[in-house]
């Protein structure tokens, strides 16, 4: 019996979401990297640089 992971969405919906990991559709690699850089810049601005000792 499948369990609800969250009250709002069914397990089936979330499994469909996870199946995207295996879908053949691929984004443009340059878009992916550009987005990563832009998002990281936004995160840094929002949360500030961390003092995590693993960062090097």
């Amino acid at each position: 019996m499948p369990k609800e992971i969250a009250a709002e969405f069914s397990t089936e919906e979330l499994m469909e979401f996870l199946e995207g990991d295996l879908h053949p559709t691929q984004a443009d690699p340059e878009f992916k990297e550009r987005l990563r850089r832009d998002l990281w810049a936004m995160v840094q601005e929002r949360y500030g640089r961390g003092t995590d000792e693993t960062e090097h």
Binding site: A6, F31, V43, D52, T54, E55
Partner: protein, 222 residues
């Protein structure tokens, strides 16, 4: 639940984090085995390796989820960006009330719904405008003579600007926005490099935006 471990090889940015020991000299689990909750917590502390793992974990699933519903790469990129922006801007507001997976899924779903709603609204307006949307007598979507003149001027400038664009650039623009082709596909069909295709698309987009700016400038008397 954070979903299955991402089976793809980690990027260079995360490789060092996967191998490096942490506090107290005791090696911890590789980052790609961490739960989403733990990764989000470290991102909020400003850790790029943890951010990279989360991004890598969710990028393909968000992109594929969006693309399967929108069937347009250009829009899928925009909506993927919008989804991720909401996720990382609101990460501190997530509050652990639902699983991160469900939370991110909800954001992606809402982003798509909003996009489809905007498309529907745009289509309805065009339908109301009739067969020639630049000239209409509809009381809902009608123009004053001055507005009609501005539209005609704008259309004329558009034609003039696009005539100055290289044929392959115009073709690339149509392939991207009309046929939903990816950059590599356009590159192959036009025989141009991916960088050249991107530059060309940017140039056409800029020209189209300049037409809008010029039209606005002409409206306002000095």
């Amino acid at each position: 639940m954070s979903g299955p471990t991402n089976s793809r090889a980690p990027s260079a940015a995360t490789s060092s984090a996967l191998a490096s020991p942490r506090l107290g000299g005791k090696p911890l689990e590789p980052l790609d085995t961490w739960t989403d909750e733990a990764l989000f917590a470290e991102v909020a502390r400003g850790s790029e390796p943890h951010f990279n793992v989360l991004y890598e974990r969710y990028f393909q699933r968000i992109y594929a989820f969006v693309y399967l519903r929108i069937r347009n790469h250009a829009d899928a990129e925009e909506l993927t960006q919008e989804t991720f922006t909401v996720v990382f801007r609101a990460a501190e507001a997530w509050g652990g009330r639902a699983s991160p997976l469900a939370w991110v899924y909800g954001i992606a779903k809402n982003t798509i719904s909003n996009h489809l709603r905007r498309l529907r609204t745009g289509r309805e307006r065009l339908e109301q405008a009739g067969p020639n949307p630049l000239v209409t007598t509809s009381p809902i979507w009608s123009y004053t003579p001055e507005e009609q003149l501005d539209l005609d001027r704008c259309a004329s400038q558009l034609d003039e600007r696009l005539s100055g664009v290289a044929a392959w650039q115009a073709e690339a623009f149509l392939l991207r926005h009309g046929e939903n082709c990816t950059i590599p596909e356009i590159s192959k069909r036009t025989g141009r490099s991916s960088d050249a295709v991107r530059s060309g698309l940017y140039r056409v987009k800029k020209l189209l935006m300049e037409v809008g700016v010029d039209s606005s400038a002409q409206e306002r008397p000095e």
